[in-house]
Point group: none
Chain length 146, copies 2
């Protein structure tokens, strides 16, 4: 298993730490990743988390455009400034900073959602709602599940 799949909910302790699910940790350690890059999702109130190569991907995308264009400048603001690097502690936990809490609404529990190359941090109820809304939208457009 070398990709982030499935989901799990863990509790934040008194110090503001939360364990990354074991399955996700082994994906990370298989990739030799010890520092994580986190940024605000562009659509949902969720934080996306992955290895530094996630940032590389954005930077390639920016490099493809005119590096001095307003669009590139704007994207740099989001990607460089809107992202943070965090480290896991020896037990595989990460800190829930205000940056993460404010954007997601997370308070006591964190839902980890696998997205393939990366995973996301959600406030559990917000995820339920977003999922229900997505289902509803899909249904109303007469689409079948993939």
């Amino acid at each position: 298993m070398n990709r982030f799949l499935s989901h799990a909910t863990n509790r934040i302790d008194a110090k503001g730490r939360v364990s990354v699910p074991s399955a996700f940790r082994s994906v990370l350690s298989d990739g030799g990743v010890r520092e994580l890059y986190c940024f605000q999702d562009f659509v949902f109130p969720a934080i996306s988390v992955g290895g530094p190569e996630l940032l590389d991907r954005f930077e390639r995308q920016m490099a493809a455009e005119d590096p001095f264009s307003p669009e590139a400048n704007e994207m740099s603001l989001l990607v460089h400034g809107g992202g943070v690097f965090v480290k896991l502690d020896p037990e595989g936990r990460l800190m829930m900073t205000d940056f993460i809490r404010d954007f997601t609404g997370i308070s006591t529990d964190v839902m980890f959602v696998g997205r393939g190359d990366y995973f996301q941090l959600w406030e559990p109820q917000a995820f339920q709602k977003a999922q229900a809304a997505a289902r509803e939208g899909r249904k109303s457009r007469g689409l079948r599940p993939e």
Copy 2:
């Protein structure tokens, strides 16, 4: 980590000093930079800060445009004439001068925003607004990180 990434907010003390985040300081010292060059951003109410080589970067940008265009002329005025050199104190702090305060609106707290080759100083709430606007623009154009 040899680039300015992530972000952090620090408080200005009674003497008008503020600590540069440790991660940024190590980037500077790795590059052997002791003196910093600061000037006003062209788009946002923020001060851009970097080593002296930051000048080269923006001179290239100006060279890319018509050197006699009003934009290039304006950039030259800001970069060459509007910039100031500042030094860090032994603890890694810098002074918040009126030059910086007036342009950014900074009063009690400073947000340090990594931009890759350089970093910026923002008034925290102004950053929130600019980022929200950037995200909104991106969303409406239907762009996604992946």
